[in-house]
Symmetry: C2
Subunit: 196 residues, 2 copies
DNA sequence: CTCCTTGTTATACAAGTGTATAACAAGGAT
DNA sequence: ATCCTTGTTATACACTTGTATAACAAGGAG
């Protein structure tokens, strides 16, 4: 006897598969993320994945794009919570959002680790990575130059601040970090005090 | 006909397997690192791995320890190249070594990504990670307090500097970074200027 | 109602995975 | 020389992997 199934539109299915892929990467990491695991998570048969995507790599690439957008949205939401006439507060909000949920999150890190691994070998995914990071750094730079007392080289400042935030985010998300989210926030603020 | 083989001591074989595992992780990433791939790399049959290690996870854990020690050695070698009466120069050497070979290296990053992935789920590997990072941060703190004009909270300073270095190292090693190793060095120096 | 398109499943397949096990070979002890 | 220990290989096994393919079912068009 065949399993009953509901017929859905292509877009809905693609989105559902991307979401399932993200959940899978988060739960089981890159190792445990297979066609079967993803489709089980999506409540769908393995064949359907290949009906909508060229292969599992294409689905992961799409998931990278989607996850990157979700992160960027969360960061911008944090910024929008601060008044427009407080550019320094907005920059600080953009930065410190990385130390709190939903950005600082063990499962998001697991997803990101999988992306980094693939970015190194798979050039298509490498391109997506470059885009996401270029966008992020561009945003960071924009928020930096919006502040009064803009430093001489905002590009380099954005590079440094991004690296600092990434490093702190990584350790917080890995767990067992020898510092708290509050301390990370303090450090970021101190950094701003000295350079901007 | 059986393949000719040379009989070796247990220690030699273990080290050879660890080295092969490291090369494998570097070349093919976590995905492509299997018992068979490692043993092919070591020029040894698959069964031998289980003769010396409880399983592939135990070998990877040992490889993590070994690679961590190799990195720490490289960092300390950079420090020792600077005169003992120049503590600030030694700290800077410790920091900037991460932006040069052999630390800033795409294949080392691939290895490290595999470790991070496993550290999240495998608690035994997580412990090794914590040890390695605690050691590194401890060294960093030691080089910081050795400088004249030690800041109020050297622990937090070490946290921040470690995060900055990690973030810059990560992007440099991933490739296509929008900044050079020289610029990373400049940024680290600027950081020292402001805080120490 | 019937046909036809197509979303969806079930099944099959070849290749790869970690591990278990027995046969083999090398070198020292007797 | 012979035995015995043990390092090492070859092979087998059960399981998972990504993918291909044919059967099936749902819903609209005629």
């Amino acid at each position: 006897m065949r399993q009953a199934f509901t017929r859905k539109s292509a877009d809905t299915r693609r989105e559902a598969l991307v979401a399932a892929c993200a959940r899978c990467l988060a739960k089981h990491g890159a190792q445990g993320t297979s066609v079967r695991a993803i489709c089980l998570e999506a409540g769908v048969s393995p064949g359907l994945l290949r009906h909508y995507f060229e292969g599992i790599d294409a689905l992961i690439a799409e998931t990278y794009r989607s996850t990157g957008a979700r992160v960027a949205d969360a960061l911008h939401a944090a910024v929008e919570a601060v008044a427009a006439d407080n550019p320094r507060g907005r920059l600080l909000a953009f930065v410190t959002a990385s130390f709190r949920k939903p950005i600082a999150d063990s499962e998001l890190l697991a997803t990101w680790l999988a992306f980094w691994s693939l970015a190194r070998t798979h050039t298509a995914i490498g391109k997506i990575h470059d885009e996401i990071y270029a966008d992020n750094r561009h945003d960071m730079e924009r928020f930096i130059v919006a502040c009064p007392g803009t430093p001489a080289d905002p590009r380099l400042m954005a590079v440094a601040l991004t690296a600092l935030v990434d490093g702190l985010w990584l350790e917080l998300s890995l767990g067992n970090a020898p510092f708290s989210a509050d301390e990370a926030e303090t450090l970021a603020e101190k950094w701003l005090d000295s350079f901007i």
